[in-house]
Amino acid sequence: MMHIMEGFLPSPWWQIWWILALPCLIYGFYKLKKIMETNREVLPLLGVAAGFIFVLSALKLPSVTGSCSHPTGTALSAITFGPWITAVLGFIVLLFQALFLAHGGLTTLGANMVSMAIVGPFVGYYVYRGLNKVNVNFFLTVFIAAFLCDLMTYVVTALELALAFPAVSGGLLASFIAFLSVFAVTQVPIAIIEGLVFVVIFKYIIILKPDLLLKMKVLTADKMEKVKGGLEE
């Protein structure tokens, strides 16, 4: 779980992460409002993207290190709607978990948003766009983007904790590595599974309603033809 538990970030760190998260969230709400006004046909895709964040972030999976962690589910939203709208969706899930599940809390919500709803999706989005530009296979691109989207969330969590609690000997780096070994190593197998799951999800979106991806400029029309052609073999 990428949550930093309530009370585990001292001042000034929880305020700093809140200050970083807040503008992203506000801009996300603005972008969301714009999509709802001008582009209502893509709302089903938004619903599915939100649905996957809800489902996947509720699953706690056991991993190789003998502890449990959960996928983030943010990749679909990040790739199709970009990191800003994902920030809003992530905020809703994290708020629910902070208020009712005691997973994360209101003071650490800023830090948890930065890791799961902002930096992770940012990395996923730009990795997708970058690889797409250089014509890497579409499904491979989705896999890599979703994998990194998930993994980066936990790298950032480790960094947030390391910044607040640098080790007495070895300082920031030593404590970053220590937290990474807990968060990131556990996450690698889960991130692989998540990447594969999102490949399958994208396949079905392309089969069911490819226009939605065209409208969000995830793929261009001729690339979509190629991807569809590849699926029909």
């Binding site: 509720a58 190789v64 449990c68 499904f139």
Partner: protein, 103 residues
């Protein structure tokens, strides 16, 4: 291969489960508890430094009184997401079928 991605994903899930069962036997043999959440492990690392959390969820809402209630709330979260996905994918599939075969 029409179902290539599905097959890869299922194989990965089986390997994942196998690794879990294997790790679990090691942990059980060592007599450990194991399978805590990483956030709990991370928090313990911080507490070992002598840090005390300065605020708790029960200060403004509540912490789930038991594991059962926690699972219930987690399940509700997943149900809500699952409903959204199922409903929308269902509508899209129906829409596609009607378009293909208007009768």
């Amino acid at each position: 291969m029409k179902y290539l991605f599905e097959i890869i994903t299922v194989i990965a899930l089986i390997v994942f489960t196998g690794v879990f069962l294997y790790t679990d036997t090691i942990i059980q043999a060592a007599g450990g508890e194991g399978w805590e959440g990483t956030d709990g492990v991370g928090s313990e690392m911080v507490e070992e430094l002598g840090y005390e959390p300065w605020i708790d969820n029960s200060d403004y809402t509540f912490t789930p009184p038991s594991g059962e209630i926690e699972s219930c709330l987690f399940a509700l979260q997943a149900v809500f997401g699952g409903l959204l996905i199922g409903w929308i994918f269902g509508s899209l599939a129906t829409e596609r079928r009607i378009k293909k075969n208007p009768n």
